[in-house]
């Protein structure tokens, strides 16, 4: 192989690598560097403080709470959304009258903008006038303090997220389900496998890559949770729904404490990286099997 032929792939890759470096590596490197400075904007007049910003984050009850909220939300929302997506996919994989209508209604929340979704749910969650509490009161149950009980607020936002984005998980899983050849099931039926056995030993393993992709995409999105919290609770009550994204935004764009915001962003990248490692390990394990 000639030298020019060996270099050709690199030459072809160069534009993509340059774009990647400019749009991903440079901001990452800059964020990492800024996290070591006390600065109200960029590097002008910035003072090197080493790891002080990280120490401050460690000492901050608000940041610790934000990390906890973010991780809890990511795990719970992802699991529920993938489970709901799977359930809906199995349900809608069977023919029944009105299936098209049900599917259309099911997908509607996913096409709405998050601001519209939050406006709808804020009205539904209203303690005195909201649709949900009116429904509960109509059957003799007491109203629920959806958004103002610190023990409930995060779960209320999980519920909104589930309503809006479970259809996304459903779409991925439903596509996977439609690709499973029906003759496999017919063979299993001939061999005497019941519905549960077919689901456990055939459907689930064959759907695993789709479930994995749905979980990956939903967890990445959930980890960045910002808009729903911003619009529905502002991070409250107290710090009950504050997420790391909100913490970074407030430090960076409300207070212009760019050093601290960058340090929080670095922590966010590290936690997200750990999540990615878990996924990558699962993926490689699956590929090796």
């Amino acid at each position: 192989m000639t030298a020019s032929r060996r270099l050709l792939p690199w030459l072809l890759l160069t534009p993509a690598l340059l774009i990647f470096a400019g749009l991903t590596l440079y901001p990452l490197g800059r964020t990492l560097a800024l996290s070591l400075f006390a600065t109200d904007y960029g590097f002008e007049n910035a003072k090197f403080v080493g790891l002080e910003n990280f120490q401050e984050l460690w000492d901050s009850r608000f940041f610790r709470q934000a990390v906890t909220n973010t991780v809890v939300f990511t795990v719970v929302a992802t699991v529920l959304e993938v489970a709901a997506g799977l359930g809906l996919a199995l349900l809608l994989n069977r023919a029944f009258p009105g299936r098209t209508l049900v599917m259309t209604l099911l997908l509607a929340p996913f096409v709405l903008s998050t601001m519209v979704v939050t406006a709808i749910w804020r009205a539904w969650f209203h303690f005195d006038l909201g649709f949900l509490n009116n429904l509960l009161r109509a059957v003799g149950l007491p109203g629920v303090p959806w958004l103002f009980d610190p023990n409930l607020a995060l779960w209320s936002i999980v519920l909104v997220d589930l309503w809006q984005t479970a259809p996304f998980a459903f779409l991925i899983i439903f596509a996977g389900l439609r690709l499973i050849p029906q003759d496999v099931y017919e063979a299993a039926r001939v061999d005497g496998a019941g519905p549960w056995r077919r689901f456990r030993d055939m459907t689930l393993p064959l759907l695993a890559p789709y479930l994995f992709v749905a979980a990956l995409l939903r967890s990445v999105d959930s980890f960045k949770l910002f808009d729903k919290v911003y619009a529905m609770t502002g991070g409250g009550p107290g710090q009950a729904t504050e997420t790391v994204s909100m913490f970074v935004y407030r430090q960076g764009f409300r207070f212009f404490d760019i050093g601290l915001a960058s340090a929080a962003a670095v922590v966010m990248i590290v936690v997200a990286g750990l999540l990615a490692v878990v996924y990558a390990a699962s993926l490689l394990k699956g590929a090796g099997r």
Partner: protein, 408 residues
């Protein structure tokens, strides 16, 4: 590399925002949304009719996004805004950092404005902004309900609690009082009149954090007692919920009633038209300290159209247009004479009381770090409101955080 870095930073931070304006006969006006937007929209419409050749772009933003746009624009010198609507609490930062144009260099500003609103528009003796909306935190109560249960206008916050308790106990479906409990600016602005009435403060005149005092603790304890008298879920209440609770007759007293919200109290949407009295906040240990919340118009230092911007600001703050804005949109004026204008008083019966309140109004601390201080205080107030911190602990921790913010 440095240039590329700055450019990239600017692009990322200003994603979605306008590109720098080109110097020509045009105006980019960045203003608030919600109740303030119709006032600016009306002025743009009238100014455009008078000046058809000027290309005017009006942006309508929420409080937070507006601050971010203006602050990022000033730091990056984007020259993207010609007229900026500023909350008076942002003004110290913008003026001290040299982000605004001295109005004296672009023809000045005629008119006799309310003194407290004028004071917050000046820095080092120079006028950097024009008072646009004479907003002030008032206090509102149902005079029919208070009279029914033998109460007069509450003079102190203790009187407020007593009246609210009786009304809550005796009037089915009516909460004693209502306030804004959502964290951040809303809960802070609900709390400050109570704090000041008790003789406490957040930041001293010499810029020190002074929140961990017995006076502040008494004020917070009293403020927290309001929760039992308020509608359930008050922790999530903002302006809309507060206004609805009063207008629909679901609450008897509003701890704060901003004058720009009060315009619809006697309107057709109100179930209690004519029954709500709007007055200055009560006192306690000290006399009333109504809080100023004026909105200002200013010209960013990097505006490429300063002369045109100054002309627009003079147009908006002229007596006839201030009156028009008040009549048509309910935004209170800032020119002293208008508070006794017969047409305006006929429509807004509380205007004379509002002028009295404006004349003794207290501005929030004139420090450039107020946005951060307010957020810290709002966070801790809410932790106390939901019972996760005791008043003393909340104030001590907030004070330490505020001291740190002030030292940066």
């Amino acid at each position: 590399m440095r240039t590329i870095g700055k450019a990239l930073g600017a692009v990322l931070m200003l994603a979605g925002l306008s590109l720098p304006a080109v110097a020509q006969d045009r105006l980019v006006i960045a203003g608030r949304d919600a109740g303030f937007a119709p006032a600016l929209a009306k002025m743009v419409e009238l100014y455009q009719a008078k000046n058809p050749s000027v290309k005017i772009e009006r942006l309508e933003l929420g409080g937070g996004p507006l601050y971010e746009r203006l602050a990022v624009g000033a730091r990056e010198k984007t020259a993207a805004t010609d007229v900026a609507m500023l909350d008076d609490i942002w003004a110290p930062e913008f003026m001290a950092r040299g982000w605004l144009t001295d109005l004296g260099t672009v023809g000045g500003l005629p008119g006799e404005f309310v003194k407290s609103a004028m004071d917050v528009s000046r820095h080092d003796g120079k006028l950097y902004a024009a008072p646009f909306v004479g907003n002030i935190a008032m206090f509102a109560y149902r005079k029919d309900l208070l009279a029914k249960h033998g109460f007069e206008r509450p003079k102190t916050w203790s009187d407020v609690v007593k009246a609210a308790q009786v009304i809550q106990d005796k009037e089915q479906g009516v909460s004693g009082l209502v306030f804004r409990g959502i964290k951040g600016n809303p809960i802070v602005t609900s709390f400050l009149p109570v704090l000041w009435a008790h003789g406490g403060d957040v930041v001293s005149a010499d810029g020190k954090a002074v929140l961990d005092t017995p006076a502040a603790e008494k004020a917070l304890t009293q403020f927290l007692s309001f929760k039992a008298l308020a509608p359930k879920g008050v922790e999530t209440y903002n302006a809309t919920e507060l206004r609805d609770a009063i207008q629909q007759g679901r609450a008897a007293i509003a701890v704060e009633m901003w004058s720009s919200w009060a315009g619809t109290l006697d309107g057709s949407a109100s179930k209690v038209a004519g029954q709500v009295e709007v007055v200055a906040s009560p006192g306690e240990v000290k006399g009333p300290a109504p809080m100023l919340g004026a909105w200002l118009l200013a010209i960013p230092a990097d505006s490429p159209n300063k002369a045109r911007a100054a002309d627009f600001i003079r147009f908006v703050t002229s007596p006839e247009n201030q009156k028009l804005i008040a009549l048509e949109t309910g935004n209170p004026p800032t020119l002293t004479a208008l508070f006794n204008d017969k047409d305006l008083v006929a429509k807004y019966r509380w205007y004379p009381a509002q002028l009295e309140a404006l004349n003794v109004a207290q501005a929030r601390p004139r420090i450039s770090q107020w946005a951060r201080v307010e957020t810290i205080l709002g966070d801790y107030l809410q932790l106390a409101l939901i019972g996760q911190l005791q008043p003393k602990q909340a104030l001590t921790e907030a004070n330490a955080q505020i001291a740190r913010a002030l030292s940066r």
